[in-house]
């Protein structure tokens, strides 16, 4: 406990120090010191499995400075600290020099507030920490505020997070003890909306694909890999005591999770913005976690375990992907997939890192996504024995989501890294420096290590499933090792022989250009057309009407369904209603004061009655 608190204080002090000494090494050293101290504290709690608590005097009405570090909090805090270190190392290489003073400060502040969120056991303290975290991440999201899109995303994020806070305040007013006892239905709905908006559950997700892509990449990595997890943490804390109506709540989480996962993966598939695709994939994965929690409440504890594992591996893999996408952005200065291409040859290490992350989240063995999706499917089959419907919903959702995620990540990797470069900048790209590569390498190794360690983690509680996993993983490990050995043999054999390189046979066409490559849109079109009823994919196609057609353009966009169909009409209605109030504003000062006078007289008269 003391270690964690010390770490948080180091972070805050270090953040303040960077405001005055604008030096990236100051930032890095304080970040590393702070996060390592936190890790130490978390490790202690996770090893001993005993909660530690601390009460400090705090003179705020309704508030008490009570902190508890229990295994649940440590489970969220430890990966956060780990990713914090790696993202900080990456950021030293990533941020322009001289950067903004405030970026490092808000980065430190956000992580410190996140730590406090995970420790706080009092409603007021929690809300304060929550709000500091939200505001710090707002300033991080808008750190490139000279672009209009960034400012707009920032506003959307700010509104969304405050809507969430509004429901959380209501929740803490009803259930101030925060997970010490089971929640009622009203409190649960409030918590689901409040925490769900942070985790990006549909339909409260619309800020996420706006805000995460425009943030600087190390920040995106932390936002998607760590900060949104706090939403899930809140839900788990609320449900840590068996709630009333556990069945109904389980079903709610299951359905919300299923809808979120499907929506997220479908929109990920349709994105042409690389980081936007990753952000929608975060929505999808939070949906899967939520689905797992729901199934867990319906009597499948293994599903909860799978959800937790998924959270962990998603955090690692998504951070890895955002860091890799960040290096691509660093080199090509664009997030548009249609301007990349051929990057694997030019940035082999970044490409390899992205491949590991993409394979992991697409559910390919032997990585995290595969394991957790397999576990969820096992649970679904088990659940079908006594709750056919829940099992079926899970089975279908997870299967569909896994397939679509594979398509989405194939698109991301294939269009960005394979083929030929589609722009000058992509052609000139090269791997970034070691400061940016090391964190990616460590994350990739960490993801592999986590996958390899999963059977061991599960062996005590679920020996049966653990054995299945272990055999599957050792098999895929064998296959991978075999492939690597064959590749090594091939390069060994080719070393001494001449290797000629020739262009692919172009069917006799003599002047192929990069514009003839598969584009991201054309790659995903068969699937997006299939789900056109959900996606509302808008394509502006050139008409070839007259005999000699004029010059035409082709463009496409996939606006978020909920933004267009739900929030925009709601907002327009609100604006129209507010327009009625403008009649009061007619510009005559005298009448404004008259309003005051009338109110005063009215109040006096009311007092007399």
């Amino acid at each position: 406990m003391n270690e964690v608190l010390t770490g948080l204080v180091i972070l805050v002090v270090g953040g303040l120090a960077t405001l005055f000494l604008n030096h990236r090494w100051v930032a890095l050293v304080t970040a590393a010191a702070g996060f390592l101290t936190i890790l130490q504290g978390c490790g202690l709690v996770l090893a001993l499995q005993t909660p530690q608590s601390l009460e400090l005097p705090w003179a705020v009405p309704g508030g008490s400075f009570s902190l508890v570090l229990d295994p649940l909090a440590a489970f969220f805090l430890a990966p956060a600290a780990l990713l914090g270190i790696l993202a900080s190392i990456y950021a030293v290489g990533y941020f322009p020099r001289p950067g903004r003073r405030s970026t490092w400060f808000f980065l430190h502040l956000m992580m410190a507030a996140l730590g406090l969120v995970l420790l706080a056991r009092n409603g007021v303290l929690f809300l304060v920490a929550w709000e500091v975290m939200a505001l710090a991440s707002f300033f991080l999201v808008t750190s490139e505020d000279e672009q209009r899109q960034v400012r707009q995303a920032g506003w959307i994020y700010l509104v969304a997070t405050h809507l969430g806070s509004f429901f959380l305040i209501a929740f803490f007013a009803i259930a101030p003890d925060f997970g010490q006892s089971g929640v009622g239905p009203v409190a649960f709905v409030l918590a689901l909306i409040g925490f769900g908006s942070k985790a990006g559950l549909v339909p409260l997700h619309i800020w996420l694909p706006e805000a995460h892509p425009v943030a600087p990449s190390p920040v995106s990595a932390l936002l998607s890999g760590v900060v949104i997890n706090t939403g899930i943490y809140g839900l788990m804390r609320v449900l840590s005591h068996p709630p009333e109506h556990a069945r109904a709540i389980g079903w709610t989480l299951l359905l919300v999770g299923a809808i979120t996962a499907l929506t997220g993966v479908l929109f990920a598939l349709a994105q042409r913005d690389l980081k936007g695709l990753l952000a929608y994939s975060s929505v999808e994965n939070m949906g899967l976690v939520c689905l797992g929690l729901g199934l867990g409440l319906l009597g499948q504890p293994l599903a909860t375990a799978a959800a937790m594992l998924h959270l962990l591996s998603h955090g690692l893999l998504k951070s890895l992907l955002f860091l890799a996408a960040g290096s691509v952005l660093h080199q090509t200065h664009t997030r548009d997939l249609e301007e990349m291409g051929g990057l694997l040859r030019r940035m082999p290490l970044t490409g390899l890192a992205f491949l590991v992350g993409a394979a992991g989240l697409a559910g390919l063995p032997p990585l995290g996504g595969f394991i957790t999706e397999l576990l969820l499917l096992l649970c679904a089959v088990q659940a079908m024995q006594h709750n056919l419907l829940a099992g079926l919903v899970t089975l279908l959702t997870v299967a569909l989501v896994a397939g679509l995620a594979l398509a989405a990540f194939t698109k991301a990797f294939g269009i960005a890294f394979l083929g030929e470069p589609r722009s000058q900048r992509a052609a000139r790209a090269h791997d970034p420096g070691p400061l940016m590569l090391t964190p990616m390498a460590l994350l990739a190794l960490g993801a592999l290590g986590l996958a390899a360690g999963t059977p061991w983690l599960l062996s005590r509680t679920y020996p049966e499933q653990s054995a299945v996993l272990a055999s599957l993983l050792s098999f895929t490990g064998l296959v991978v090792a075999l492939a690597a050995a064959l590749y090594a043999l091939r390069s060994q054999l080719l070393k001494t022989r001449p290797v000629g390189a020739a262009p692919t046979w172009g069917c006799g066409y003599l002047a192929p250009s990069t514009r003839m490559e598969y584009t991201g849109l054309s790659f995903s079109q068969p699937l997006t057309d299939l789900f056109a009823s959900v996606l509302h994919h808008r394509v502006h196609q050139p008409r070839m009407e007259p005999i000699f057609p004029a010059e035409e353009t082709f463009s496409d966009e996939t606006p978020d369904l909920f933004e267009d169909e739900v929030y925009r009409p709601m907002l327009e209605g609100l604006v129209r209603l507010s327009g009625l109030l403008r009649r009061l504003q007619h510009g005559r000062v005298q009448f404004y004061v008259l309003y005051v006078l009338v109110t005063l007289v009215g109040l006096l008269a009311w007092g007399q009655l």
């Binding site: 510009g587 005298q590 006078l597 005063l600 006096l604 007399q608």
Partner: protein
């Protein structure tokens, strides 16, 4: 004490019935002097009371009228008040307000009996008349004066609870008013420069 309060009422009526801005400013100044003297009349020569009274007299009786005179001189506007409600009707309303205050204030619970039974009704009348001046006159300068009268009313009401309210509160009210007058002075200057007039009717153009 009661004489001073009656003089205060008369000054309020004068404000309602007068048509020239310089005389309005002068009357607001006299009111300030009266209010400065009132606490001393009510509570005698005590250190705290003297402090409140003399500072009130200095600020309300001397500084405010001087600032207003200067604003008037700089704005170079006509000296007509330009009422929205006629002077006669204003006076009639003033009498009605005084009567209503006498009825209303009888039931207001106070921590202690005020030094004079007229004090609270007069204070309320001043508040109402001040607001009325803001509502019923066109010129921004007169509205500033109306605000001052309104402040005077609050100050007078404060006298009723002076022994129970800390000095800080009195000082705070006075400082508030001072800052407000300074701000109004600046605003008047800008209104005058932008619209070439102090009539608030032109401000309607600012509406978007």
């Amino acid at each position: 004490m009661d004489t001073a309060l009656v003089l205060l009422i008369l000054s309020l009526f004068w404000l309602l019935g007068s048509s020239s801005i310089p005389s309005l400013i002068r009357v607001v100044g006299y009111q300030g002097v009266l209010l400065g003297v009132l606490p001393i009349l009510a509570y005698g020569f005590e250190r705290e009371v003297l402090l409140v009274g003399l500072s009130g007299l200095a600020v309300k009786g001397l500084i405010f009228p001087w600032l207003m005179q200067r604003a008037l001189r700089e704005a170079r506007v006509t000296r007509e008040v330009e009422p929205l409600v006629s002077y006669n009707l204003s006076l009639l309303l003033g009498v009605l307000v005084l009567g209503a205050s006498l009825v209303f204030t009888a039931e207001i619970p106070l921590p202690a009996a005020p030094p004079s039974h007229l004090l609270v009704p007069v204070a309320f009348t001043a508040v109402a008349v001040g607001l009325f001046l803001v509502v019923a006159r066109k010129k921004a300068l007169v509205q500033a004066l109306g605000y001052l009268v309104f402040e005077n009313g609050i100050y007078a009401f404060g006298l009723a609870v002076l022994p129970h309210a800390p000095l800080v509160i009195e000082a705070g009210i006075l400082l508030d008013a001072l800052v407000a007058v300074l701000v109004m002075g600046i605003t008047l200057f800008h209104i005058n420069r932008t619209f070439d007039s102090l009539s608030t009717e032109r401000l309607v153009q600012l509406k978007d």
